[in-house]
C-alpha cells in the first residue's frame, strides 16, 4: 500500500445493499475517512463486524476483517488487538448486536479498556429481520413483535459504559458527516477503548427516530462548550433523558489501556520453528 492512503482505499468494490438513505452509509464514510486521516491503511487495519444490517460493513470496506457470530464482535476484536498490538482494530455493529445479544461483552470490553474503537450503528430497530424492537427502542414503539410497544425502558448504552468505567464515551449522528468523522477519529486516537454510539437512522422500519427527529433535537456538545474531561458533566449529559447529544462526552486523559497494563508488546504471530530454547526448563519444574 502506498504511503498516500485515501479514504477510498478502505472501500471494497462490493456495492452496499443497505436501503437507499440508510444511516449506515454516512457512518461507514466517516469511519473510512477517520481511519485514513489517522494514518492507517487497509493492510494494518482489522475490522470486526457483528451481525445485522450494520454487520455488513465488513463486506463494503476493504481491510483485514472478520464478520463473525451475532453479538461476539468485541471478543474477536479483543483477541486481535492483544495478539497484535501493531494493528489498528475497529469493531462495528448495531444496537441489537452490542446492547442485546452482546451486552455482556460490551460491559466487559469497556472495563478491559483494550486500545481499539467500537462503533455502534444505533437505529433503535432490528432492520435486517424487518422491524422488531431493539434494546434502544422507545417504550411505546410499536413493532411486529411489540404491537403496543416494548413497555420497558430502552437501554442507555452511554450510561452502561459510564457505569462500567469507560475511558472514552462519545455519540455522533451519521448525517453530520464532519462531526461524525471527527468523533470517530477521536475514538481511534484515544489510548484505550473508544466507544462511539452513532445515531444511524433506519429509513424503512423506524418512522420515529428519523433524520428529522435527530436534526431537530441534537445538542452539539462542542458548541455547548462541554468539557469531556469532566466526569460529573459527562454524567449529567448521559443521564439527561430529555435531550439527545452529539460529541465526545467523556474522555479519561490518564487512560492506561489493557495492553500497557499487561505489558503486551509482542507480535504473537511470530514463533520459533520448534519448542522454545529453554523449554526443557518447563519439564524440569516437574521434578
Amino acid at each position: 500500500m502506498s504511503s498516500q492512503v485515501r479514504f477510498t482505499d478502505f472501500k471494497s468494490d462490493k456495492q452496499p445493499t443497505w436501503c437507499p438513505g440508510c444511516g449506515d452509509f454516512g457512518t461507514m464514510n466517516g469511519m473510512m475517512k477517520a481511519l485514513a486521516e489517522t494514518g492507517n491503511d487497509p493492510d494494518n487495519t482489522f475490522i470486526v463486524a457483528g451481525i445485522g444490517c450494520s454487520g455488513k460493513i465488513g463486506t463494503y470496506m476493504h481491510s483485514y476483517a472478520l464478520h463473525g457470530v451475532h453479538g461476539r464482535a468485541l471478543p474477536v476484536g479483543t483477541g486481535v488487538k492483544m495478539a497484535r498490538p501493531d494493528l489498528e482494530v475497529m469493531v462495528a455493529g448495531g444496537d441489537g448486536d452490542g446492547y442485546s445479544i452482546g451486552a455482556g461483552h460490551f460491559v466487559h470490553a469497556v472495563r478491559r479498556n483494550v486500545d481499539m474503537s467500537y462503533i455502534v450503528m444505533d437505529n433503535r430497530i432490528y432492520g435486517l429481520t424487518k422491524g422488531q424492537a431493539s434494546p434502544t427502542s422507545r417504550e411505546d414503539f410499536e413493532t411486529s413483535t411489540t404491537p403496543e410497544g416494548p413497555k420497558q425502558p430502552p437501554v442507555n448504552p452511554l450510561a452502561l459504559a459510564l457505569a462500567a468505567g469507560a475511558s472514552f464515551i462519545a455519540q455522533s449522528f451519521s448525517s453530520d458527516a464532519l462531526r461524525h468523522q471527527e468523533i470517530v477519529q477521536a475514538a481511534i486516537e484515544h489510548d484505550g477503548f473508544g466507544f462511539v454510539n452513532v445515531y444511524s437512522p433506519c429509513v424503512t422500519f423506524n418512522d420515529v427516530d428519523t433524520y428529522d427527529y435527530f436534526r431537530d433535537s441534537l445538542v452539539d456538545l462542542k458548541e455547548a462548550g462541554h468539557d469531556p474531561n469532566d466526569h460529573e458533566a459527562a454524567k449529567d449529559v448521559i443521564l439527561d433523558a430529555d435531550k439527545e447529544y452529539q460529541g465526545v462526552i467523556y474522555r479519561d486523559e490518564n487512560s492506561v489501556p489493557y495492553g500497557a497494563q499487561h505489558g503486551l508488546e509482542s507480535d504473537m504471530s511470530e514463533i520459533p520453528d520448534g519448542a522454545p530454547e529453554d523449554a526443557t526448563d518447563l519439564v524440569r519444574e516437574f521434578y
Binding site: L66, G68, R72, L74, P75, V76, V80, R84, V283
Partner: protein, 583 residues
C-alpha cells in the same frame, strides 16, 4: 509388576489434603518410584469429604486399584468412604486426641498418632498432616529425608523457618510411630536411582501448548479445565504470550479466534457446560478457516451433572456439536504424556488444515498426577508446521485478475493460502456467511458447493497425508479385541495382565483419534469378540466403530462418575467375552 503400595490421605475440603498428598507423591518420585495419583473431591471449598490417593511402585503404574494399604484419616467419613478398599494388613493413621472416636475396621492396624500435639511441638498445629506423612514413612520404612525436598518445594517461598519446622514435624511423626508401635505389615518402599517428573494432564496440555508456540489463551474458569489456564498464567508471558480470563465461554472462544486470525497460535480450554456455549462459534471457526485449538476436559454431565466426577460423555458433542456441517479434527490423548504430544499435534493440524481441532481429555487425566522419565517430554522432538502461511513475496500468486487476495482459494488439497494481517496487499475479509474465494458473501449454488467441498477436501487430504495410528498392546493374534479411546488405556493395560494370568489373551487398540480415525474394519473382522470400553452410558465410541465396520460390538461402559479400575475391568471384559453380542 513389582509390589505396589496404595496410600491415601482424606479429610474435609480445606484440610490441606491435596497439598499434603502432593508432597508425599513428590517425595516418592524423588526416591525413584513411580507414582499414580487420584483424587476424590467435591465441588466445594470447605467441608464434605476429599481424598488424595497415591499408588506407587518401582515399576510403571498406569491406573488405580480398589485396594488401600495405608490411610491417613482426618475424619471418620474418610474411613467410612474407603472401608471397602481396606483389607487385613491395612493401616489407618489417625489422631486419637481429636474429638472424634475413630471406628477402625477389624483387621486393620490402628496407628493412633497425636498429630496435632506433635505438630504444635514442631511449631504449629497447621503441620499435623506433615506429622502424618512422617508416620507413614515409619510404617513403610521410607526415609523421611525424601520429604525434605518436596517440603522445600512446597514451603520454600515462605522462608527457611517454615521449611525447617515442617521437616521437624515429619521427623516427630516418624519417631512417634517407631517408638510406640511394632508394626510388621510388610510395606517396604524400595528406592531407585531413576529421575522422574510428576505432572497431571492439564499441566501436560499447558506445557504442550507452550512447546508448540501457543501465545494466546482465553478461557473461563471451570472444573476440571481451570488448571490448564493456571499453568499457562505466569509461564506464557516468558514467551511473549498472554492469558486472558474472559467474561464467559462465548467470549473466550471468540477472543481466541481473534488472536488466531491475527496470526497467533491460540487456544481455549473448557469442560462440558462451556463447550455447549462455545458450540455457537464452532461453525465460524471452520468457515472462516481459522486455526484454533479447543480443549474439552470432560466431566460428568449432562447439565451441571457431577462436576468433579469422571465421564467421557462429550464425544458426540465435539464430533457433531454446532449447527450445519463442520469439518473438524477430534483428538483424544490416552495418557498424561500423550496430553503433551497430542496438544503439539493439535496446533500443527489446526494450522496445516486451517480448521478447529478439538483436544478431548477428561477429568481422570486432568486431576491425576503420574511419573514419567523426563525424556517422555523431549523438547527437541517438538516439530512446528505452520502450514500454508504465506508472506508478502507469495501474495502475488494468490491474487485474482483484479488484484484481490483469494483467502479461500479452491485448491487441489483444499488448503488455501493464509495471509495474516499486516501482509501487504492481502487484506481480506473472512466470514461465517457462505462466501466466495475472496471471502465475500454469496448464495450462488456453484460457489456454495465449491466452498463446502473445498473445506471437506482438507479432511480428506489430512486423512491421506497424516498418520492416524492406534496404540496397540497385547497379543496381535488374540481372539478378543478390546477397543477404547482416551484415558482408559492405563486401566485396560493393567486389566490385560490380570486376564492373561487367567489365561485370557487380549489384543488392545487404544485410539487417540476420534476424527479422522483409523479404519478398524479388518481388525474387527479378524477378531472373535470385539469389546469397546468407555466411560459413558450409551457407548458413543462403540457407535462409531459399529458405523465404520458394519459389525455389532460388545460394550463395556461405566458412568458412575468414577474411572475404571483394572480389576473391575478384567472382570467385565471376561464377562463380556462370555455373553452374546446384542443387536
Amino acid at each position: 509388576m513389582a509390589e505396589d503400595l496404595n496410600w491415601a490421605i482424606g479429610g474435609e475440603a480445606g484440610d490441606g489434603i491435596d497439598s499434603t498428598g502432593k508432597i508425599f507423591a513428590q517425595a516418592l518420585s524423588r526416591a525413584g518410584r513411580h507414582v499414580f495419583t487420584s483424587k476424590d473431591f467435591a465441588s466445594r471449598i470447605r467441608g464434605g469429604y476429599t481424598a488424595y490417593k497415591i499408588r506407587t511402585s518401582v515399576d510403571d503404574v498406569r491406573s488405580v486399584v480398589d485396594r488401600l494399604d495405608i490411610l491417613v484419616a482426618l475424619t471418620q467419613r474418610t474411613i467410612d468412604e474407603n472401608v471397602d478398599e481396606l483389607h487385613e494388613g491395612s493401616a489407618i493413621i489417625y489422631d486419637g486426641e481429636r474429638s472424634w472416636e475413630a471406628e477402625i475396621p477389624e483387621g486393620v492396624a490402628a496407628v493412633d498418632v497425636p498429630l496435632k500435639s506433635l505438630a504444635e511441638e514442631a511449631g504449629g498445629a497447621i503441620m499435623r498432616n506433615v506429622v502424618a506423612l512422617g508416620a507413614a514413612c515409619a510404617i513403610t520404612d521410607f526415609d523421611v529425608a525424601y520429604l525434605d525436598e518436596s517440603l522445600e518445594k512446597r514451603f520454600g517461598g515462605k522462608g527457611s523457618k517454615i521449611v525447617g519446622n515442617n521437616r521437624e514435624a515429619a521427623r516427630l511423626g516418624q519417631e512417634y510411630v517407631e517408638e510406640n508401635y511394632e508394626l510388621d505389615l510388610g510395606y517396604e518402599l524400595e528406592t531407585t536411582d531413576s529421575d522422574y517428573v510428576l505432572l497431571n494432564g492439564d499441566e501436560a496440555i499447558g506445557m504442550g501448548a507452550l512447546a508448540a508456540g501457543c501465545r494466546y489463551y482465553a478461557g473461563y474458569p471451570i472444573t476440571p479445565a481451570t488448571n490448564v489456564m493456571e499453568y499457562l498464567t505466569g509461564r506464557i508471558e516468558r514467551y511473549g504470550g498472554h492469558v486472558v480470563q474472559a467474561e464467559d465461554e462465548l467470549s473466550a472462544i471468540n477472543m481466541a479466534l481473534g488472536a488466531a486470525r491475527a496470526g497467533a497460535r491460540a487456544m481455549t480450554a473448557t469442560s462440558g457446560p462451556g463447550i455447549d456455549l462455545m458450540a455457537e462459534t464452532f461453525g465460524l471457526v471452520a468457515t472462516s478457516e481459522t486455526p484454533l485449538v479447543i480443549v474439552d476436559v470432560m466431566r460428568s454431565g449432562p447439565s451441571t451433572g457431577m462436576p468433579t466426577k469422571q465421564e467421557q460423555g462429550d464425544l458426540n458433542m465435539t464430533l457433531y456439536g454446532g449447527h450445519g456441517e463442520i469439518p473438524r479434527f477430534v483428538i483424544a490423548p490416552t495418557t498424561i504424556a500423550e496430553c503433551f504430544w497430542k496438544t503439539v499435534e493439535a496446533f500443527n493440524y489446526a494450522e496445516k488444515y486451517q480448521t478447529p481441532v478439538y483436544l478431548v481429555a477428561d477429568l481422570a487425566l486432568a486431576v491425576t498426577e503420574r511419573t514419567f522419565p523426563p525424556e517422555a517430554f523431549d523438547m527437541d522432538a517438538v516439530e512446528i508446521d505452520r502450514g500454508r502461511l504465506i508472506d508478502e513475496s507469495e501474495v502475488g500468486e494468490w491474487l485474482d485478475e483484479k488484484g484481490r487476495f483469494r483467502a479461500h482459494a479452491d485448491t487441489d488439497d483444499g488448503v488455501s493460502p493464509r495471509a495474516i494481517p499486516g501482509t501487504t496487499d492481502a487484506a481480506h475479509m473472512s466470514t461465517g456467511l457462505e462466501h466466495d474465494e475472496l471471502g465475500r458473501r454469496t448464495e450462488q449454488e456453484e460457489i456454495r458447493v465449491q466452498q463446502v467441498d473445498k473445506r471437506y477436501r482438507k479432511v480428506e487430504t489430512a486423512r491421506e497425508r497424516e498418520e492416524w495410528a492406534c496404540r496397540e498392546f497385547g497379543d496381535p493374534d488374540a481372539e478378543t479385541l478390546v477397543i477404547s479411546w482416551g484415558s482408559n488405556e492405563g486401566a485396560i493395560r493393567e486389566a490385560m495382565e490380570l486376564l492373561a494370568a487367567d489365561g485370557i489373551d487380549v489384543r488392545f487398540l487404544s485410539v487417540p483419534y476420534v476424527f479422522p480415525r483409523p479404519d478398524l474394519t479388518a481388525d474387527v473382522e479378524a477378531a472373535e469378540d470385539v469389546i469397546v470400553v468407555e466411560c459413558n452410558a450409551t457407548g458413543q465410541f462403540a457407535d462409531l466403530i459399529e458405523h465404520d465396520t458394519l459389525t455389532r460390538v460388545k460394550r463395556v461402559t461405566k458412568y458412575t462418575g468414577v474411572r475404571f479400575k483394572a480389576n473391575e475391568l478384567a472382570e467385565e471384559i471376561a464377562a463380556a467375552i462370555a455373553t452374546e453380542v446384542t443387536a
